[in-house]
């Protein structure tokens, strides 16, 4: 049921161009789902009378956010889409760790069809790098790419066997497929439930050392150099990892990395008295690490910010910390939580948005995520200063396990559109 969309103009906005890193006053003219024009010359006087206009009253207009890591665990396509839109996320890469694991062409094809019929945010399938995410046999990367998989990941488990990882990366190269990996040595992290260090020791909890992450990452980067594969470390949480990425990039490798919004805005002390909603993998780290990661967004050492959205049933969190499931919902709070860094004066708005729009688009080879003529009109409008208190009962997600429970955040998404179609606001 397609109806011809009328031209639409967003006027009098703070336009954030994440590619140029600029902030200007102006408007965006949208035609046939694409950005027809953008800039100071898009004014009420210049757009035709047949164009619908929205006066943004000085609110920010930027490309919609692209989230490279969200899980549909305990969610549905619909609930993920609603949560994403409320958080200004217009493209979501959905991890393969669904049940059943998305490791066959039939399942990827089914996902692609559901995503197409979703009539909401754009959903992309990350398919399984190894069958069943078991780390033993490489996935059908050729056929799965043909079926529409945008990248290959292994959920929240690292491929332990270096030979399997080597072959997976070698094979991926034949299809120019993006290998995305959760990096944490499963043996070093086996018993750990939070960051290793003084705080864990005081709480009497077993720790996951920072080295668990960088050892796996170092291995992967060596394999990336050996195989020439396109490689993306999905979540890094330490300066050790950041330094390894900087070095690898300086050596010309086609590698990138992401950080979760949680690791940019929270630290291990937020766990307080065993708050299980803050049990994450990788674990929240020391405040010094967090500050360094924020600086990594500024310097470009870290490419993208992800929600790492992972819904958990309350019953899986209302247990002793060591026994609780890891993970937090994050789609809906991605933008306002990230804006904390802007309000704290740590990151400029264009740099922050680059890590959630144009940079993920480049890594994934997507045309959206840019405020440029001809780009798909996936846009959001938000007031970065509008305050609110996170009320878990009002979240659009099926799950309520937010680490920002009762937090005071700023930045409310007024409008979200995909391909020129307003879906939220």
């Amino acid at each position: 049921m397609m109806s011809a969309l009328k031209n639409l103009a967003l006027l009098d906005a703070r336009l954030i161009d994440p590619v140029a890193g600029t902030e200007t006053r102006g408007g965006v003219l949208i035609e046939n789902g694409q950005i027809k024009d953008v800039g100071a010359n898009v004014t009420r006087a210049n757009v035709g009378s047949g164009t619908d206009v929205i006066d943004c009253k000085g609110d920010v207009v930027s490309p919609g956010l692209i989230d490279m890591r969200a899980s549909e665990h305990r969610e549905t396509i619909a609930s993920v889409s609603r949560a994403a839109l409320a958080g200004g996320v217009t493209s979501v890469c959905v991890a393969p760790d669904s049940s059943p694991v998305r490791d066959t062409t039939a399942l990827v094809d089914f996902f692609v069809r559901r995503a197409r019929d979703n009539d909401s945010v754009r959903l992309y399938s990350i398919a399984a790098l190894t069958k069943g995410l078991a780390g033993k046999e490489i996935g059908e990367m050729g056929l799965l790419s043909r079926a529409g998989a945008i990248g290959f990941g292994n959920g929240s488990v690292s491929v332990r066997d270096a030979q399997v990882m080597r072959r997976a990366m070698t094979y991926a190269g034949d299809f120019d497929a993006l290998v995305m990996h959760f990096v944490q040595d499963p043996d070093l992290a086996a018993t750990g439930v939070m960051n290793e260090g003084e705080f864990a020791s005081r709480l009497g909890l077993m720790g996951v050392p920072r080295e668990a992450e960088v050892i796996m990452l170092d291995r992967d980067l060596r394999l990336a150099a050996m195989t020439g594969a396109r490689y993306h470390a999905e979540l890094i949480s330490t300066t050790l990892s950041m330094d390894a990425m900087v070095k690898a990039r300086a050596n010309g490798l086609k590698v990138s990395c992401g950080v979760s919004i949680n690791h940019l805005t929270l630290n291990e002390n937020d766990i307080g008295d065993y708050r299980t909603f803050l049990k994450l993998m990788p674990p929240l780290r020391h405040e010094e690490e967090r500050l360094a990661l924020v600086e990594g967004i500024n310097s470009g050492a870290i490419d993208v910010i992800v929600s790492d959205h992972c819904g958990q049933d309350v019953e899986d969190k209302r247990v002793p910390f060591a026994e609780a499931e890891a993970g937090a919902v994050g789609l809906e709070t991605l933008l306002p939580a990230a804006l904390r860094l802007v309000h704290a004066g740590q990151v400029s708005l264009p740099k922050l948005l680059r890590a959630m729009t144009s940079r993920p688009a480049e890594i994934l080879g997507l045309p959206q995520g840019r405020l440029a003529k001809g780009a798909p009109a996936d846009l959001i409008r938000f007031d970065p200063d509008e305050p609110f208190v996170v009320d878990p009962s009002k979240l659009h997600s099926q799950c309520r396990n937010t680490p920002f429970d009762e937090a005071r955040l700023q930045g409310v998404v007024q409008l979200a559109m995909v391909a020129g179609k307003v879906l939220h606001g």
């Binding site: 190894t130 069958k131 033993k136 046999e137 490489i138 996935g139 059908e140 990367m141 050729g142 056929l143 072959r167 070698t170 094979y171 190269g173 034949d174 195989t227």
Partner: protein, 316 residues
């Protein structure tokens, strides 16, 4: 047929590989094999060039066509041929390769044909015996008589090898057939391509005198010969390639791909074939398949090799 070549044109005691053979030596073997083809097509196939000689076929790896081909070749030239059944032998009781070699050598054979799963094993054995040794396949290293029979098949069909474009497709990494063919065919002036997923290409292949393709269709485009390799089943379940289905889809030779990309090409396969995996039945059994011809040429080439080596034996 020996009288016309009184001077030795094949001055080697063993045939351990194609590497090290000169172009005239290879062509000498192919010329001799051409004559052996005619011999084998007669009712009276028996010759006496190996009369009184003893040939032992020592196969540490299972083989049907190569072993029977060597057996027939030896018998047609008049040799006494013995097949060692390694499965029931002292090898199974823990005897080392060298001990086996020394023991067999004491029985005074003239020719030992050896297949072994370890690269280099045949050469090791050859140093411990006083007779001639023929490599019938060592690990992933060489299978010289297969390359010779492939060359003979091509030369008889195309009239030449020089200048032909020959695509070797499949599990190059583990294939002794690919290695011997790469050396032999480039030596004879062919343009050799190897076509495989990256996981089935050995390291450094780019520096081995061949063009490398990861895309099957591009790799066979315009080829004169498409030579398919067997993919072992244990390598297609996620270890080297994700699955049989994916391998067949991207790297299997089908009628459609052949017509679209290499309409003039002749198709070869060293056998045994995996129907529906690396090659579709319609291609394997089709008019452009040389697979059965390769088997016939196998006997002829082995006759030529045995005859050439016998001339260098004591009293030869």
């Amino acid at each position: 047929m020996a009288a016309t070549r009184a001077t030795t044109s094949f001055p080697h005691r063993h045939l351990l590989g194609i590497a090290g053979l000169s172009r005239p030596e290879i062509e000498y073997l192919l010329d001799t094999a051409d004559e052996a083809v005619e011999v084998s097509r007669q009712i009276e196939k028996k010759r006496t060039v190996l009369s009184g000689r003893t040939q032992i076929n020592l196969f540490f790896e299972a083989s049907t066509r190569t072993q029977s081909s060597f057996e027939l070749a030896g018998k047609r030239l008049g040799a006494d041929v013995m097949n060692m059944a390694v499965a029931n032998s002292s090898v199974k009781k823990g005897e080392t390769l060298i001990d086996t070699a020394v023991t067999l050598n004491a029985m005074r054979p003239d020719l030992i044909i050896v297949r072994h799963h370890c690269s280099g094993a045949v050469e090791l054995l050859s140093k411990k015996v006083s007779c001639s040794v023929v490599n019938a396949g060592d690990g992933s290293h060489e299978h010289p008589t297969q390359a010779l029979l492939d060359a003979l098949t091509i030369r008889r069909r195309k009239g030449k090898i020089e200048g032909l474009t020959i695509a070797i497709c499949g599990d190059v990494a583990h294939s002794r057939v690919a290695r011997s063919n790469m050396i032999l065919l480039t030596q004879l002036g062919a343009r050799v391509r190897v076509v495989a997923p990256s996981t089935l290409l050995p390291a450094g292949i780019e520096r081995m005198g061949v063009e490398v393709f990861r895309d099957f269709n591009k790799g066979i485009a315009g080829a004169d010969i498409v030579m398919m390799l067997r993919l072992q089943r244990e390598r297609m379940d996620g270890a080297y390639v994700p699955s049989l289905k994916e391998y067949a889809h991207f790297h299997g030779l089908t009628e459609e791909k052949l017509i679209a990309m290499a309409p003039e090409a002749l198709v070869m396969h060293p056998g045994p074939i995996n129907r529906g995996v690396e090659i579709d039945s319609s291609v394997a059994d089709g008019s452009r398949s040389l697979i059965n011809e390769q088997v016939e040429m196998g006997v002829a080439v082995r006759m030529a090799v045995l005859e050439a080596l016998s001339k260098n034996l004591p009293n030869g």
